[in-house]
Amino acid sequence: MDQSPPAGAEPTRVVFADGMILDCGMALPDMTVAYRTYGTLNAARSNAVLICHALTGDQYVAERHPLTGKPGWWDQVVGPGRPVDTARFFVICANVLGGCMGSTGPRSPRPPGPEVAPGALWGTDFPPITIADMVRAQRRLIDHLGIERLFAVVGGSMGGMQVLEWAARYPDAVFAAVPVATAAYHSAQNIAFNEVGRQAIFADPDWRGGRYWEQDTIPARGLAVARMCAHITYLSEQALSRKFGRRLQGAGTGPASPSQASSLFGDMFEVESYLQHQGSTFVRRFDANSYLTITRAMDYFDLAADHGGDLAAAFAGSRTRFCLASFSSDWLFPTAQSRAIARALNRAGANVSFVEIESDKGHDAFLLDEPDFHRTLAGFLNGCAVHAGIAA
Protein backbone atom coordinates (compact mmCIF):
# COMPACT_ATOMS: atom_id res chain seq x y z
CA MET A 1 0.00 0.00 0.00
CA ASP A 2 1.27 3.43 -0.92
CA GLN A 3 1.86 5.27 2.31
CA SER A 4 3.04 8.58 0.96
CA PRO A 5 0.69 11.53 0.98
CA PRO A 6 -0.17 13.05 -2.38
CA ALA A 7 2.80 14.90 -3.80
CA GLY A 8 3.01 18.45 -2.57
CA ALA A 9 -0.12 18.09 -0.45
CA GLU A 10 -0.30 20.30 2.59
CA PRO A 11 -1.75 18.67 5.69
CA THR A 12 -5.51 19.06 5.45
CA ARG A 13 -6.84 21.61 7.87
CA VAL A 14 -9.92 23.69 8.46
CA VAL A 15 -10.04 27.01 10.28
CA PHE A 16 -13.13 27.92 12.27
CA ALA A 17 -12.88 31.68 12.37
CA ASP A 18 -15.58 31.95 15.03
CA GLY A 19 -13.48 29.91 17.45
CA MET A 20 -14.96 27.85 20.26
CA ILE A 21 -15.92 28.28 23.91
CA LEU A 22 -13.99 25.84 26.09
CA ASP A 23 -15.10 23.96 29.21
CA CYS A 24 -12.92 26.28 31.28
CA GLY A 25 -15.06 29.21 30.15
CA MET A 26 -12.41 30.79 27.97
CA ALA A 27 -12.97 31.30 24.27
CA LEU A 28 -10.54 30.39 21.53
CA PRO A 29 -10.96 33.30 19.11
CA ASP A 30 -10.25 31.04 16.18
CA MET A 31 -9.63 27.35 15.93
CA THR A 32 -7.75 25.21 13.43
CA VAL A 33 -8.38 21.48 13.15
CA ALA A 34 -5.78 19.53 11.19
CA TYR A 35 -6.95 16.18 9.87
CA ARG A 36 -6.42 13.44 7.30
CA THR A 37 -9.01 11.36 5.50
CA TYR A 38 -8.80 7.99 3.74
CA GLY A 39 -11.30 6.29 1.46
CA THR A 40 -14.44 7.78 -0.05
CA LEU A 41 -17.56 9.15 1.57
CA ASN A 42 -20.54 7.32 0.04
CA ALA A 43 -23.54 9.12 -1.46
CA ALA A 44 -25.64 8.57 1.66
CA ARG A 45 -22.77 9.95 3.80
CA SER A 46 -23.27 6.96 6.05
CA ASN A 47 -19.85 5.27 5.97
CA ALA A 48 -17.71 7.73 7.94
CA VAL A 49 -15.45 6.39 10.68
CA LEU A 50 -13.70 8.78 13.06
CA ILE A 51 -10.44 7.57 14.56
CA CYS A 52 -9.43 9.28 17.81
CA HIS A 53 -5.73 9.31 18.62
CA ALA A 54 -4.01 8.84 21.95
CA LEU A 55 -1.84 11.21 24.01
CA THR A 56 1.11 11.39 21.63
CA GLY A 57 -0.62 10.31 18.44
CA ASP A 58 -1.72 12.48 15.58
CA GLN A 59 -3.80 12.51 12.42
CA TYR A 60 -1.34 10.38 10.41
CA VAL A 61 -3.11 7.16 11.30
CA ALA A 62 -2.59 5.26 8.06
CA GLU A 63 0.17 6.95 6.10
CA ARG A 64 3.83 7.73 6.45
CA HIS A 65 4.44 10.33 9.14
CA PRO A 66 5.79 13.58 7.64
CA LEU A 67 8.29 14.15 10.48
CA THR A 68 9.43 10.67 11.48
CA GLY A 69 9.01 8.87 8.16
CA LYS A 70 7.47 5.96 10.06
CA PRO A 71 4.32 4.13 8.92
CA GLY A 72 0.97 5.39 10.21
CA TRP A 73 0.52 4.74 13.92
CA TRP A 74 -2.44 2.40 13.32
CA ASP A 75 -1.66 1.20 9.81
CA GLN A 76 -2.29 -2.39 10.88
CA VAL A 77 -5.84 -1.42 11.80
CA VAL A 78 -6.73 1.25 9.23
CA GLY A 79 -6.23 0.71 5.50
CA PRO A 80 -7.52 -1.25 2.52
CA GLY A 81 -8.60 -4.71 3.70
CA ARG A 82 -7.72 -3.85 7.30
CA PRO A 83 -10.24 -4.06 10.18
CA VAL A 84 -11.20 -0.42 9.53
CA ASP A 85 -11.32 -0.97 5.80
CA THR A 86 -10.65 2.22 3.84
CA ALA A 87 -12.03 0.52 0.73
CA ARG A 88 -15.39 0.46 2.50
CA PHE A 89 -15.31 3.28 5.01
CA PHE A 90 -14.45 6.97 4.83
CA VAL A 91 -11.93 7.33 7.62
CA ILE A 92 -11.24 10.65 9.33
CA CYS A 93 -8.53 11.31 11.89
CA ALA A 94 -7.94 14.76 13.39
CA ASN A 95 -5.13 16.09 15.52
CA VAL A 96 -6.65 16.82 18.93
CA LEU A 97 -7.21 20.33 20.18
CA GLY A 98 -4.11 21.20 22.21
CA GLY A 99 -1.95 19.02 19.95
CA CYS A 100 1.15 20.03 18.03
CA MET A 101 0.58 18.63 14.54
CA GLY A 102 -1.47 21.46 13.09
CA SER A 103 -4.55 21.77 15.28
CA THR A 104 -4.77 24.75 17.59
CA GLY A 105 -2.57 24.21 20.62
CA PRO A 106 0.16 25.75 22.76
CA ARG A 107 2.48 25.97 19.74
CA SER A 108 -0.07 27.98 17.71
CA PRO A 109 0.34 31.74 17.24
CA ARG A 110 -1.43 33.64 19.93
CA PRO A 111 -4.18 35.90 18.60
CA PRO A 112 -3.14 39.57 18.62
CA GLY A 113 -4.08 41.55 21.71
CA PRO A 114 -2.98 44.48 23.87
CA GLU A 115 -0.49 42.48 25.93
CA VAL A 116 0.54 40.04 23.25
CA ALA A 117 3.83 40.59 21.52
CA PRO A 118 3.72 40.22 17.75
CA GLY A 119 4.61 36.67 16.73
CA ALA A 120 4.00 35.27 20.21
CA LEU A 121 2.84 31.70 20.61
CA TRP A 122 0.25 30.48 23.12
CA GLY A 123 2.75 28.47 25.13
CA THR A 124 1.64 27.89 28.69
CA ASP A 125 -0.98 30.63 28.30
CA PHE A 126 -2.97 28.18 26.20
CA PRO A 127 -6.19 27.57 28.13
CA PRO A 128 -6.67 24.23 29.88
CA ILE A 129 -8.70 21.94 27.70
CA THR A 130 -10.74 18.81 28.32
CA ILE A 131 -11.52 15.63 26.44
CA ALA A 132 -14.97 17.14 25.81
CA ASP A 133 -13.31 20.19 24.20
CA MET A 134 -11.38 17.86 21.90
CA VAL A 135 -14.62 16.11 20.97
CA ARG A 136 -16.47 19.38 20.35
CA ALA A 137 -13.67 20.42 17.99
CA GLN A 138 -14.01 17.09 16.17
CA ARG A 139 -17.75 17.64 15.96
CA ARG A 140 -17.12 20.96 14.24
CA LEU A 141 -14.93 19.14 11.72
CA ILE A 142 -17.57 16.45 11.11
CA ASP A 143 -20.23 19.13 10.55
CA HIS A 144 -17.83 20.91 8.20
CA LEU A 145 -17.46 17.69 6.21
CA GLY A 146 -21.24 17.46 5.92
CA ILE A 147 -21.58 14.29 7.98
CA GLU A 148 -24.60 14.05 10.26
CA ARG A 149 -23.95 10.66 11.72
CA LEU A 150 -20.69 8.78 12.06
CA PHE A 151 -20.91 5.08 11.35
CA ALA A 152 -18.26 4.49 14.00
CA VAL A 153 -15.93 6.27 16.39
CA VAL A 154 -12.86 4.21 17.25
CA GLY A 155 -9.92 4.94 19.53
CA GLY A 156 -7.59 3.56 22.16
CA SER A 157 -6.31 4.96 25.45
CA MET A 158 -7.01 8.72 25.42
CA GLY A 159 -8.64 8.07 22.04
CA GLY A 160 -11.01 5.72 23.87
CA MET A 161 -11.89 8.53 26.28
CA GLN A 162 -12.87 10.63 23.27
CA VAL A 163 -14.97 7.74 21.94
CA LEU A 164 -16.84 7.56 25.26
CA GLU A 165 -17.31 11.32 25.28
CA TRP A 166 -18.62 11.22 21.69
CA ALA A 167 -21.13 8.49 22.55
CA ALA A 168 -22.28 10.29 25.70
CA ARG A 169 -22.44 13.78 24.17
CA TYR A 170 -23.75 13.02 20.67
CA PRO A 171 -25.50 9.62 20.92
CA ASP A 172 -27.52 10.18 17.75
CA ALA A 173 -24.38 11.00 15.77
CA VAL A 174 -22.61 7.74 16.67
CA PHE A 175 -23.92 4.44 15.27
CA ALA A 176 -21.11 2.33 16.72
CA ALA A 177 -18.48 3.12 19.34
CA VAL A 178 -15.24 1.22 19.97
CA PRO A 179 -13.41 2.41 23.10
CA VAL A 180 -10.21 0.36 23.34
CA ALA A 181 -7.89 -0.03 26.37
CA THR A 182 -9.43 2.95 28.09
CA ALA A 183 -11.32 4.13 31.16
CA ALA A 184 -14.24 6.37 32.05
CA TYR A 185 -11.97 8.36 34.35
CA HIS A 186 -8.25 8.80 34.77
CA SER A 187 -7.16 6.88 37.86
CA ALA A 188 -5.03 8.30 40.67
CA GLN A 189 -2.17 6.08 39.49
CA ASN A 190 -2.41 7.43 35.95
CA ILE A 191 -2.56 11.03 37.18
CA ALA A 192 0.50 10.27 39.29
CA PHE A 193 2.51 9.04 36.31
CA ASN A 194 1.45 12.07 34.29
CA GLU A 195 2.58 14.32 37.13
CA VAL A 196 6.04 12.74 37.14
CA GLY A 197 6.29 13.54 33.44
CA ARG A 198 5.16 17.11 33.92
CA GLN A 199 7.57 17.66 36.79
CA ALA A 200 10.42 16.36 34.61
CA ILE A 201 9.54 18.99 32.01
CA PHE A 202 9.26 21.77 34.61
CA ALA A 203 12.65 20.77 36.05
CA ASP A 204 14.43 21.20 32.73
CA PRO A 205 16.12 24.66 32.70
CA ASP A 206 15.42 24.81 28.98
CA TRP A 207 11.70 24.82 29.71
CA ARG A 208 12.09 28.45 30.78
CA GLY A 209 8.72 28.74 32.40
CA GLY A 210 7.08 27.41 29.27
CA ARG A 211 8.52 30.17 27.04
CA TYR A 212 11.29 28.04 25.55
CA TRP A 213 10.13 28.96 22.06
CA GLU A 214 11.25 32.54 22.70
CA GLN A 215 14.83 31.30 23.14
CA ASP A 216 14.61 28.94 20.18
CA THR A 217 15.20 25.95 22.42
CA ILE A 218 13.18 22.99 23.70
CA PRO A 219 13.20 21.24 27.11
CA ALA A 220 14.55 18.10 25.46
CA ARG A 221 15.84 16.46 28.65
CA GLY A 222 12.64 16.97 30.57
CA LEU A 223 10.35 15.90 27.77
CA ALA A 224 12.52 12.85 27.10
CA VAL A 225 12.35 11.80 30.76
CA ALA A 226 8.58 12.30 30.69
CA ARG A 227 8.39 10.03 27.65
CA MET A 228 10.67 7.42 29.21
CA CYS A 229 8.56 7.29 32.34
CA ALA A 230 5.32 7.09 30.36
CA HIS A 231 6.75 4.48 28.03
CA ILE A 232 7.34 2.09 30.94
CA THR A 233 3.64 2.33 31.73
CA TYR A 234 2.77 1.36 28.16
CA LEU A 235 4.66 -1.92 28.45
CA SER A 236 4.49 -4.85 30.84
CA GLU A 237 6.99 -6.66 33.02
CA GLN A 238 6.76 -9.70 30.72
CA ALA A 239 7.26 -7.63 27.59
CA LEU A 240 10.32 -5.88 29.02
CA SER A 241 11.80 -9.18 30.21
CA ARG A 242 11.18 -10.81 26.87
CA LYS A 243 12.65 -7.95 24.85
CA PHE A 244 15.62 -6.99 27.04
CA GLY A 245 15.99 -9.20 30.09
CA ARG A 246 19.09 -8.07 31.98
CA ARG A 247 21.27 -7.87 28.89
CA LEU A 248 23.96 -5.20 28.68
CA GLN A 249 24.23 -3.01 25.64
CA GLY A 250 26.93 -4.43 23.31
CA ALA A 251 28.33 -6.68 26.04
CA GLY A 252 27.36 -10.07 24.67
CA THR A 253 25.57 -12.41 26.99
CA GLY A 254 27.66 -12.11 30.15
CA PRO A 255 25.94 -11.29 33.41
CA ALA A 256 25.84 -7.68 34.51
CA SER A 257 28.14 -7.09 37.45
CA PRO A 258 29.82 -4.03 38.97
CA SER A 259 33.28 -5.65 38.78
CA GLN A 260 33.24 -5.53 34.99
CA ALA A 261 31.97 -2.00 34.71
CA SER A 262 34.53 0.68 34.03
CA SER A 263 32.35 3.26 35.73
CA LEU A 264 29.05 3.28 37.58
CA PHE A 265 27.12 4.45 34.55
CA GLY A 266 29.48 3.30 31.84
CA ASP A 267 27.75 0.12 30.83
CA MET A 268 24.13 0.31 29.95
CA PHE A 269 21.43 -2.27 30.22
CA GLU A 270 19.64 -2.71 26.93
CA VAL A 271 16.39 -1.54 28.49
CA GLU A 272 18.02 1.77 29.43
CA SER A 273 19.32 2.32 25.94
CA TYR A 274 15.88 1.48 24.54
CA LEU A 275 14.14 3.99 26.80
CA GLN A 276 16.67 6.70 26.02
CA HIS A 277 16.08 6.12 22.34
CA GLN A 278 12.32 6.41 22.92
CA GLY A 279 12.89 9.69 24.76
CA SER A 280 15.26 11.26 22.26
CA THR A 281 13.15 10.46 19.20
CA PHE A 282 10.01 11.71 20.90
CA VAL A 283 11.33 15.22 21.56
CA ARG A 284 11.94 15.70 17.85
CA ARG A 285 8.28 15.40 17.04
CA PHE A 286 6.37 16.53 20.11
CA ASP A 287 5.91 19.87 21.81
CA ALA A 288 6.47 19.99 25.58
CA ASN A 289 3.64 22.43 26.24
CA SER A 290 1.28 20.23 24.23
CA TYR A 291 2.37 17.33 26.39
CA LEU A 292 1.48 19.33 29.50
CA THR A 293 -1.89 20.43 28.09
CA ILE A 294 -2.97 17.01 26.87
CA THR A 295 -1.87 15.05 29.95
CA ARG A 296 -3.91 17.53 32.00
CA ALA A 297 -6.93 16.96 29.77
CA MET A 298 -6.66 13.23 30.46
CA ASP A 299 -6.35 13.85 34.20
CA TYR A 300 -9.54 15.95 34.19
CA PHE A 301 -11.52 13.22 32.45
CA ASP A 302 -14.27 11.71 34.58
CA LEU A 303 -17.33 10.94 32.51
CA ALA A 304 -19.49 9.81 35.42
CA ALA A 305 -18.77 13.00 37.38
CA ASP A 306 -20.14 14.95 34.42
CA HIS A 307 -23.39 13.00 34.77
CA GLY A 308 -24.22 13.19 38.44
CA GLY A 309 -21.74 10.50 39.43
CA ASP A 310 -23.53 7.73 37.54
CA LEU A 311 -21.74 6.46 34.46
CA ALA A 312 -24.91 4.75 33.25
CA ALA A 313 -26.62 8.15 33.14
CA ALA A 314 -24.04 9.24 30.55
CA PHE A 315 -25.44 6.58 28.21
CA ALA A 316 -29.12 6.60 29.17
CA GLY A 317 -31.30 5.64 26.23
CA SER A 318 -28.30 5.21 23.93
CA ARG A 319 -28.93 3.29 20.72
CA THR A 320 -25.23 3.21 19.89
CA ARG A 321 -23.67 -0.24 19.55
CA PHE A 322 -20.58 -0.49 21.74
CA CYS A 323 -17.56 -2.76 21.52
CA LEU A 324 -15.11 -2.54 24.42
CA ALA A 325 -11.73 -4.22 24.21
CA SER A 326 -9.02 -4.44 26.85
CA PHE A 327 -5.70 -6.30 27.02
CA SER A 328 -4.86 -8.76 29.78
CA SER A 329 -1.42 -7.32 30.62
CA ASP A 330 -2.45 -3.65 30.41
CA TRP A 331 -1.94 -2.22 33.89
CA LEU A 332 -2.34 1.43 32.83
CA PHE A 333 -5.92 0.93 31.65
CA PRO A 334 -6.68 -2.47 33.16
CA THR A 335 -9.55 -4.72 32.12
CA ALA A 336 -11.48 -3.87 35.30
CA GLN A 337 -11.95 -0.33 33.97
CA SER A 338 -13.34 -1.57 30.66
CA ARG A 339 -15.59 -3.99 32.55
CA ALA A 340 -16.91 -1.11 34.67
CA ILE A 341 -17.83 0.73 31.46
CA ALA A 342 -19.47 -2.42 30.06
CA ARG A 343 -21.55 -2.81 33.23
CA ALA A 344 -22.58 0.85 33.16
CA LEU A 345 -23.68 0.33 29.57
CA ASN A 346 -25.67 -2.71 30.70
CA ARG A 347 -27.35 -0.58 33.35
CA ALA A 348 -28.22 1.87 30.59
CA GLY A 349 -29.66 -0.98 28.50
CA ALA A 350 -27.17 -0.32 25.70
CA ASN A 351 -26.00 -2.89 23.17
CA VAL A 352 -22.49 -3.82 24.26
CA SER A 353 -19.81 -6.30 23.26
CA PHE A 354 -16.82 -6.66 25.54
CA VAL A 355 -13.65 -8.71 25.11
CA GLU A 356 -10.39 -8.93 26.95
CA ILE A 357 -7.61 -9.80 24.52
CA GLU A 358 -4.91 -12.13 25.86
CA SER A 359 -1.59 -10.36 25.37
CA ASP A 360 1.65 -9.84 27.28
CA LYS A 361 2.44 -6.55 25.56
CA GLY A 362 0.80 -4.23 28.08
CA HIS A 363 -1.10 -1.08 27.15
CA ASP A 364 0.85 -0.76 23.89
CA ALA A 365 -0.88 -3.93 22.64
CA PHE A 366 -3.70 -1.87 21.14
CA LEU A 367 -1.19 -0.38 18.67
CA LEU A 368 0.59 -3.66 17.87
CA ASP A 369 0.00 -6.81 15.89
CA GLU A 370 -2.73 -8.49 17.93
CA PRO A 371 -4.68 -10.75 15.54
CA ASP A 372 -7.46 -11.49 18.04
CA PHE A 373 -8.07 -7.79 18.54
CA HIS A 374 -8.02 -7.11 14.83
CA ARG A 375 -10.45 -9.98 14.15
CA THR A 376 -12.73 -8.72 16.90
CA LEU A 377 -12.72 -5.15 15.61
CA ALA A 378 -13.27 -6.22 11.98
CA GLY A 379 -16.11 -8.56 12.96
CA PHE A 380 -17.79 -6.00 15.16
CA LEU A 381 -17.67 -3.33 12.44
CA ASN A 382 -18.92 -5.81 9.84
CA GLY A 383 -21.83 -6.78 12.08
CA CYS A 384 -22.67 -3.13 12.67
CA ALA A 385 -22.44 -2.37 8.95
CA VAL A 386 -25.12 -5.02 8.38
CA HIS A 387 -27.37 -3.30 10.92
CA ALA A 388 -26.57 0.13 9.47
CA GLY A 389 -27.24 -1.04 5.93
CA ILE A 390 -23.78 -0.17 4.62
CA ALA A 391 -22.81 -2.15 1.51
CA ALA A 392 -19.88 -4.55 1.82
Binding site: R321, L324, A342, N346, R347, G349, E356, A378, F380, C384
Partner: protein, 213 residues
Protein backbone atom coordinates in the same frame (compact mmCIF):
# COMPACT_ATOMS: atom_id res chain seq x y z
CA UNK B 1 -48.60 -24.92 24.37
CA UNK B 2 -49.17 -24.85 20.65
CA UNK B 3 -46.01 -22.92 19.99
CA UNK B 4 -44.11 -25.97 21.15
CA UNK B 5 -45.49 -28.09 18.37
CA UNK B 6 -44.27 -25.80 15.58
CA UNK B 7 -40.53 -25.79 15.76
CA UNK B 8 -39.12 -23.23 13.35
CA UNK B 9 -36.71 -24.37 10.66
CA UNK B 10 -33.25 -23.48 11.93
CA UNK B 11 -29.65 -23.31 10.93
CA UNK B 12 -27.95 -26.60 10.30
CA UNK B 13 -25.62 -27.80 13.01
CA UNK B 14 -27.39 -25.89 15.73
CA UNK B 15 -27.59 -27.96 18.86
CA UNK B 16 -30.97 -29.59 19.14
CA UNK B 17 -31.58 -28.17 22.57
CA UNK B 18 -30.92 -24.69 21.16
CA UNK B 19 -33.55 -25.36 18.51
CA UNK B 20 -36.02 -26.22 21.22
CA UNK B 21 -35.15 -22.98 23.02
CA UNK B 22 -35.48 -20.95 19.83
CA UNK B 23 -38.93 -22.46 19.41
CA UNK B 24 -40.01 -20.91 22.71
CA UNK B 25 -38.98 -17.36 21.74
CA UNK B 26 -41.36 -14.99 19.96
CA UNK B 27 -40.11 -12.98 16.95
CA UNK B 28 -38.96 -9.40 17.35
CA UNK B 29 -38.27 -9.69 21.06
CA UNK B 30 -35.31 -8.65 23.23
CA UNK B 31 -33.29 -11.67 24.32
CA UNK B 32 -30.28 -12.14 26.59
CA UNK B 33 -28.49 -15.48 26.26
CA UNK B 34 -26.37 -16.21 29.33
CA UNK B 35 -23.54 -18.60 28.52
CA UNK B 36 -24.08 -18.03 24.82
CA UNK B 37 -20.85 -19.77 23.71
CA UNK B 38 -19.95 -18.65 20.21
CA UNK B 39 -23.35 -17.00 19.87
CA UNK B 40 -25.09 -19.56 17.65
CA UNK B 41 -28.48 -19.04 19.30
CA UNK B 42 -28.36 -15.24 19.24
CA UNK B 43 -27.32 -15.22 15.60
CA UNK B 44 -30.19 -17.57 14.79
CA UNK B 45 -32.65 -15.40 16.73
CA UNK B 46 -31.43 -12.27 14.95
CA UNK B 47 -31.42 -13.74 11.45
CA UNK B 48 -34.61 -15.76 11.50
CA UNK B 49 -36.74 -13.95 14.06
CA UNK B 50 -35.48 -10.37 13.98
CA UNK B 51 -34.77 -10.49 17.71
CA UNK B 52 -32.50 -7.99 19.47
CA UNK B 53 -30.44 -10.85 20.89
CA UNK B 54 -27.35 -10.33 23.04
CA UNK B 55 -25.07 -12.70 24.89
CA UNK B 56 -22.89 -13.13 27.95
CA UNK B 57 -20.13 -15.73 27.94
CA UNK B 58 -17.48 -16.62 30.50
CA UNK B 59 -15.00 -18.27 28.10
CA UNK B 60 -12.96 -15.46 26.52
CA UNK B 61 -12.06 -17.47 23.42
CA UNK B 62 -15.77 -17.97 22.72
CA UNK B 63 -16.47 -14.27 23.35
CA UNK B 64 -13.79 -13.25 20.87
CA UNK B 65 -15.14 -15.71 18.29
CA UNK B 66 -18.67 -14.37 18.74
CA UNK B 67 -17.75 -10.67 18.55
CA UNK B 68 -15.46 -11.33 15.58
CA UNK B 69 -18.55 -12.87 13.99
CA UNK B 70 -20.36 -9.56 14.47
CA UNK B 71 -22.48 -10.65 17.44
CA UNK B 72 -23.11 -8.51 20.53
CA UNK B 73 -21.51 -10.65 23.20
CA UNK B 74 -19.75 -9.57 26.36
CA UNK B 75 -17.44 -11.33 28.73
CA UNK B 76 -19.18 -12.00 31.99
CA UNK B 77 -20.88 -14.67 34.06
CA UNK B 78 -24.31 -15.46 35.41
CA UNK B 79 -23.35 -15.06 39.05
CA UNK B 80 -21.88 -11.57 38.93
CA UNK B 81 -23.04 -9.72 35.82
CA UNK B 82 -26.84 -9.96 35.80
CA UNK B 83 -27.14 -7.51 38.67
CA UNK B 84 -25.94 -4.75 36.33
CA UNK B 85 -28.97 -4.90 34.03
CA UNK B 86 -32.06 -2.80 34.70
CA UNK B 87 -35.44 -4.35 35.51
CA UNK B 88 -37.38 -5.77 32.56
CA UNK B 89 -34.59 -5.00 30.08
CA UNK B 90 -35.39 -8.18 28.12
CA UNK B 91 -38.41 -10.20 27.06
CA UNK B 92 -36.51 -13.46 27.44
CA UNK B 93 -33.41 -14.39 29.39
CA UNK B 94 -31.93 -17.74 28.36
CA UNK B 95 -29.73 -19.97 30.52
CA UNK B 96 -28.85 -23.13 28.64
CA UNK B 97 -27.27 -26.07 30.48
CA UNK B 98 -25.55 -23.72 32.91
CA UNK B 99 -27.82 -23.48 35.96
CA UNK B 100 -26.17 -26.51 37.61
CA UNK B 101 -22.75 -24.85 37.28
CA UNK B 102 -23.46 -21.43 38.79
CA UNK B 103 -22.63 -20.58 42.37
CA UNK B 104 -26.09 -19.40 43.41
CA UNK B 105 -28.77 -20.90 41.16
CA UNK B 106 -31.70 -19.42 43.07
CA UNK B 107 -30.22 -15.91 42.92
CA UNK B 108 -29.41 -16.32 39.22
CA UNK B 109 -33.03 -17.30 38.53
CA UNK B 110 -34.25 -14.31 40.52
CA UNK B 111 -32.00 -12.00 38.52
CA UNK B 112 -33.14 -13.59 35.25
CA UNK B 113 -36.77 -12.94 36.10
CA UNK B 114 -35.97 -9.44 37.32
CA UNK B 115 -34.22 -8.34 34.14
CA UNK B 116 -36.48 -10.41 31.88
CA UNK B 117 -40.21 -11.00 31.67
CA UNK B 118 -39.60 -14.65 30.88
CA UNK B 119 -36.76 -17.06 31.54
CA UNK B 120 -35.82 -20.05 29.41
CA UNK B 121 -33.82 -22.54 31.47
CA UNK B 122 -32.39 -25.89 30.46
CA UNK B 123 -30.42 -28.21 32.70
CA UNK B 124 -29.28 -31.84 32.82
CA UNK B 125 -31.66 -33.88 34.96
CA UNK B 126 -30.00 -35.55 37.93
CA UNK B 127 -33.15 -37.64 38.47
CA UNK B 128 -32.55 -39.77 35.35
CA UNK B 129 -32.89 -43.51 36.07
CA UNK B 130 -29.32 -44.35 35.09
CA UNK B 131 -27.91 -41.95 37.67
CA UNK B 132 -30.24 -43.29 40.32
CA UNK B 133 -29.28 -46.86 39.42
CA UNK B 134 -25.55 -46.19 39.50
CA UNK B 135 -25.76 -44.50 42.88
CA UNK B 136 -27.93 -47.29 44.28
CA UNK B 137 -25.99 -50.21 42.84
CA UNK B 138 -22.42 -48.97 43.18
CA UNK B 139 -22.68 -46.41 45.91
CA UNK B 140 -20.44 -44.07 43.90
CA UNK B 141 -21.18 -40.78 42.22
CA UNK B 142 -22.70 -41.55 38.82
CA UNK B 143 -20.70 -41.23 35.62
CA UNK B 144 -22.68 -40.90 32.37
CA UNK B 145 -22.17 -39.16 29.02
CA UNK B 146 -23.96 -36.11 30.50
CA UNK B 147 -22.36 -36.28 33.96
CA UNK B 148 -18.91 -37.23 32.80
CA UNK B 149 -16.59 -35.55 35.30
CA UNK B 150 -15.40 -36.87 38.64
CA UNK B 151 -17.07 -35.30 41.66
CA UNK B 152 -13.85 -33.53 42.63
CA UNK B 153 -13.42 -31.78 39.32
CA UNK B 154 -16.91 -31.29 37.98
CA UNK B 155 -18.04 -27.71 37.29
CA UNK B 156 -21.59 -28.92 37.94
CA UNK B 157 -21.75 -28.02 41.60
CA UNK B 158 -25.54 -27.69 41.89
CA UNK B 159 -27.18 -30.68 40.20
CA UNK B 160 -30.96 -30.91 40.48
CA UNK B 161 -33.81 -33.05 39.24
CA UNK B 162 -36.86 -32.01 37.25
CA UNK B 163 -39.02 -32.34 40.37
CA UNK B 164 -36.52 -30.28 42.37
CA UNK B 165 -36.82 -27.55 39.78
CA UNK B 166 -40.63 -27.64 39.87
CA UNK B 167 -40.41 -27.30 43.65
CA UNK B 168 -38.11 -24.27 43.40
CA UNK B 169 -40.45 -22.59 40.91
CA UNK B 170 -43.29 -23.20 43.35
CA UNK B 171 -41.36 -21.68 46.26
CA UNK B 172 -40.21 -18.69 44.21
CA UNK B 173 -43.63 -18.13 42.67
CA UNK B 174 -42.64 -18.53 39.04
CA UNK B 175 -45.28 -19.60 36.53
CA UNK B 176 -44.15 -22.57 34.42
CA UNK B 177 -45.53 -21.64 31.02
CA UNK B 178 -43.98 -24.57 29.18
CA UNK B 179 -41.70 -27.42 30.05
CA UNK B 180 -40.38 -30.55 28.46
CA UNK B 181 -37.88 -33.32 28.93
CA UNK B 182 -35.43 -34.36 26.24
CA UNK B 183 -32.68 -36.86 25.68
CA UNK B 184 -29.06 -35.84 25.64
CA UNK B 185 -29.11 -34.77 22.00
CA UNK B 186 -32.15 -32.60 22.60
CA UNK B 187 -34.78 -34.87 21.07
CA UNK B 188 -37.98 -34.37 22.98
CA UNK B 189 -39.09 -37.17 25.24
CA UNK B 190 -42.79 -38.00 25.35
CA UNK B 191 -43.18 -37.48 29.10
CA UNK B 192 -44.53 -33.97 29.07
CA UNK B 193 -47.73 -34.75 30.90
CA UNK B 194 -46.07 -36.86 33.55
CA UNK B 195 -43.39 -35.06 35.57
CA UNK B 196 -42.49 -38.20 37.54
CA UNK B 197 -41.83 -40.17 34.37
CA UNK B 198 -40.04 -37.25 32.79
CA UNK B 199 -37.87 -37.07 35.88
CA UNK B 200 -37.00 -40.72 35.48
CA UNK B 201 -36.42 -40.85 31.73
CA UNK B 202 -35.50 -37.30 30.67
CA UNK B 203 -31.77 -36.63 30.38
CA UNK B 204 -32.31 -32.90 30.26
CA UNK B 205 -35.16 -30.52 30.91
CA UNK B 206 -36.25 -27.24 29.40
CA UNK B 207 -38.49 -24.73 31.17
CA UNK B 208 -40.14 -21.50 30.09
CA UNK B 209 -40.86 -19.46 33.22
CA UNK B 210 -42.74 -16.23 33.63
CA UNK B 211 -42.53 -13.71 36.39
CA UNK B 212 -45.83 -13.48 38.25
CA UNK B 213 -46.96 -10.03 39.36
Amino acid sequence: MNAMEKIQPVAKNMRLDLRLIAGMIAPGTRVLDIGCGDGMLIEHLFRTKGCDARGIEIDMAEVTRAVAHGLPVMHGDADSDLAHYPDAAFDYVVLSRTLQAVERPREVLRQMLRIGTRAVVSFPNFGHWLLRWQLLSRGRMPMTPTWDRQWYETPNIHPCTIRDFFALCEVEGYAVEQWLAADDAGRRAPWRRFPRLANLFGEQALFLLRRVG
